[in-house]
Amino acid sequence: MMVKRHYLRFVAFLKSLDIYQLLSLPVLLLVIMFSGDFRTTDIRIGVILPLTGAGSLRAGSHRNGLELALKHINAQGGINGRKIRLETRDSKGSATLAAELARDLIYETEVVSLIGGLSPAETRVIQQVAENAQVPFLTALCTHHEITENGSIFTFRSITDDKSQFEALAEFSARRFNCRKPALIYDSTLYGAESAHKYMEICIKFGQQVCAAVSYQPDSLNFRRQLQVIQASNPDALVLLTPADIAAIITRQAREARFNHPILGGNHLSLPEYSTVSGVYAESVITTMPFNPRLGGQRADYFLSEYYDTYSSQADSFAALGYEALMLKVLALRAGEANRLAIRNSLAQLHGWESVAGSGGFDNHGNQVRPAEIAIIKERQKIPVNLEALF
């Protein structure tokens, strides 16, 4: 009876309204909705990757890893009941476009944080826009040492950088092969020259002196001249600071020219295209590997199986690092508020974590402290050196 009485009163109230008053009810509803600022329900994280053009395969895997992490986080209820939304943009490998995308994500989409960058030029420009606007930026693909050595405050890196890779290679080659006179081949771009300079600086710490450092012009396919210069200096190892496809060609030509000393290189030699192009010549090449599933334990096993179920392909290191990157953002979001400064401060306090890629942490510059892992290529497989005896 009570309910019926209230219902009748409400109907009477509605009947007493004229047509204009009735039409204004939806307007009232809209006013309430927009005043509540429903747009902020989701936590927006911007992602800038070269999804087309050079590096698109790596960026695509990385995005898959990020999206798998997103699926897992949101399935668990998100962060304090708020879902996470990735605002993914394609930089097409252009630093200029990456700058504009970073600007638009920060000031127009109003993301709370940024992830991305692959090439140093692209990463630096995203970093500059993010630092300027005080937005936390995490790169999980760019390894150029300078990214976290430039006094930045809002930048973090979860992949092991070039410096750590070079230290691991120099240390391993000195210990394992008693290498004292490595030779370098590097590409003549700025990144190549900077990498060669850094390697020469680092290897001295391990009792090594670079006996020859030779560059080549882009689009070169014949490296006989460089190899002749190198062999004339009688090195006891060859370090390749080049893209994977060029490294594969140099490896073939070096082995064909009877260069029998160890060949070493950073993360790029662990890419599938290196093993594919160099074929049997890749045998016994020493590389660093950015992702070793054994270090991630059950987390890595779960990630690998979920990735396969979702994408029907094996997860590579870029996917794993993407998964780890978003999980780090979630750790930071769980530790504090969902605003830019709070996320930055939480990330700065992340000195240790366990993830699919194993233990990690940020140092005082926001750089990954996880040491680079050395692997040997055997039958096109990368075998971590600590497990080498098993194979």
Partner: protein, 379 residues
């Protein structure tokens, strides 16, 4: 009887409109209170109450707890009370003595204790942020990451017509030699010609003289135009055509050990100084001899020499000394001697992003405020 429903209807209608107005008003104020920044237009520096201690989320926490300097090595002088703003990107004192600040929330001006904000929200600034400022003797220009603005006679910033002639709307820096406006953008540099059209200087047009297009910082010294970019520094002798690479000098990051990015330039009347994330660099070739025997020799001053931090955000040559702003405070380099400056009492933001000077005053733009010190007190 027939009047009653109408009367009741009117009463209901009035109540309804009152309810609607009340709800809309309540939501408006709730929403505005969420959005409104702390700043109040027209507030006075001297009348402003001391800021309460900031909450954790508004401070940039150090990456390590031990990031502090020995206070005994510093000279303590009074600092003005901070005027709270968004992060400051640039400072400029115009010919009339007004301080202008380009911030992450628009423009702030300070004149005779009166503070005025120009923001997107109130229609006085067309973009969400401002990056840099320049005064060409007649007009005040504001560069943003969205385009170029000019201060008009209606005391508002409006998008400049000339902005369309820039190689990119992402403006990183501007400078003026008193007559001509120079702009550094994401895709090259440009200067404003007499017909109010920009003349573009880029990698292609200079035939490689300008080694890279992303002009992060630009500077004018004597007849040289200096640009820092992702490959290093390019210097152009403006007495000759930019298209001839022979009139350009370059210092590459890789070969000179110059750390990216070059954050600022200063000129002491003879030498060019560069600020970087690894300290201050002094280019040992005098500017007057750039053309004849340019040698990219750089002498550095960094934390190991006594600067408060390695990362230098800005610097300015003022009253015979080089003033250096870092993430850990300010310092002065005079006669190869470094002196740290800290406030006598109270707090100040350590992350100083920009410096500007006018008379004895040195203005500091930090990540959340504007302050000044009286440099006459240092000596």
């Amino acid at each position: 009887m027939s009047e009653n429903p109408q009367k009741n209807g009117k009463n209901n209608g009035a109540g309804f409109w009152l309810l609607l107005f009340g709800i809309a008003l309540a939501f408006y104020f709730i929403n505005e209170s969420k959005r409104s920044p702390e700043n109040v237009r027209g507030e006075s520096i001297s009348q402003r109450a001391p800021e309460p201690p900031a909450a954790t989320v508004t401070d940039i926490a150090p990456r390590k707890i031990s990031d502090s300097n020995d206070p005994s090595a510093t000279l303590q002088i009074p600092f003005s009370r901070p005027v709270k703003t968004a992060a400051v990107n640039d400072l400029l004192v115009d010919p009339a003595g007004t301080l202008w600040a380009a911030t992450e929330a628009g423009i702030v001006s300070i004149r005779n204790d009166q503070i005025k904000h120009y923001r997107l929200a109130d229609g006085t600034f067309p973009f969400p942020q401002a990056q840099c400022l320049a005064h060409d003797g007649s007009r005040l220009w504001a560069g943003t990451l969205f385009g170029l603005c000019v201060f008009n006679e209606n005391k508002r910033f409006v998008r400049a017509e000339a902005s369309r002639g820039l190689p990119s709307q992402m403006i990183w820096d501007m400078t003026s030699d008193g007559k001509t406006l120079w702009v550094g953008t994401q895709s090259g540099a440009a200067f404003l010609g007499k017909d109010d059209n920009f003349v573009v200087i880029d990698e292609e047009g200079s035939n490689g003289g300008l080694r890279q297009n992303w002009c992060q910082r630009i500077f004018r010294v004597e007849n040289w135009f200096v640009a820092s970019h992702d490959n290093g520094i390019s210097l152009w002798n403006t007495s000759f055509p930019a298209a001839n690479p022979e009139w350009w000098k370059n210092i590459d990051h890789a070969r000179s050990g110059l750390t990216r990015p070059v954050t600022d330039f200063a000129f002491d009347g003879k030498y060019l100084w560069l600020s970087t994330p690894r300290g201050v660099l002094h280019l040992t070739t005098p500017v007057s001899r750039f053309f004849s025997d340019f040698m990219p020799n750089l002498v550095s001053y960094s934390r190991v020499h006594g600067l408060p931090a390695d990362r230098i955000n800005s610097m300015i040559h003022h009253r015979g000394a080089l003033w250096v702003a870092t993430n850990e405070g300010i310092a002065r380099i005079k006669n190869e001697h470094i002196q740290l400056i800290s406030p006598e009492s109270g707090n100040f933001a350590r992350h100083i992003r920009k410096l500007a000077a006018s008379g004895d005053l040195l203005w500091l733009g930090t990540d959340n405020a504007i302050q000044f010190i009286n440099t006459a007190m240092v000596d």
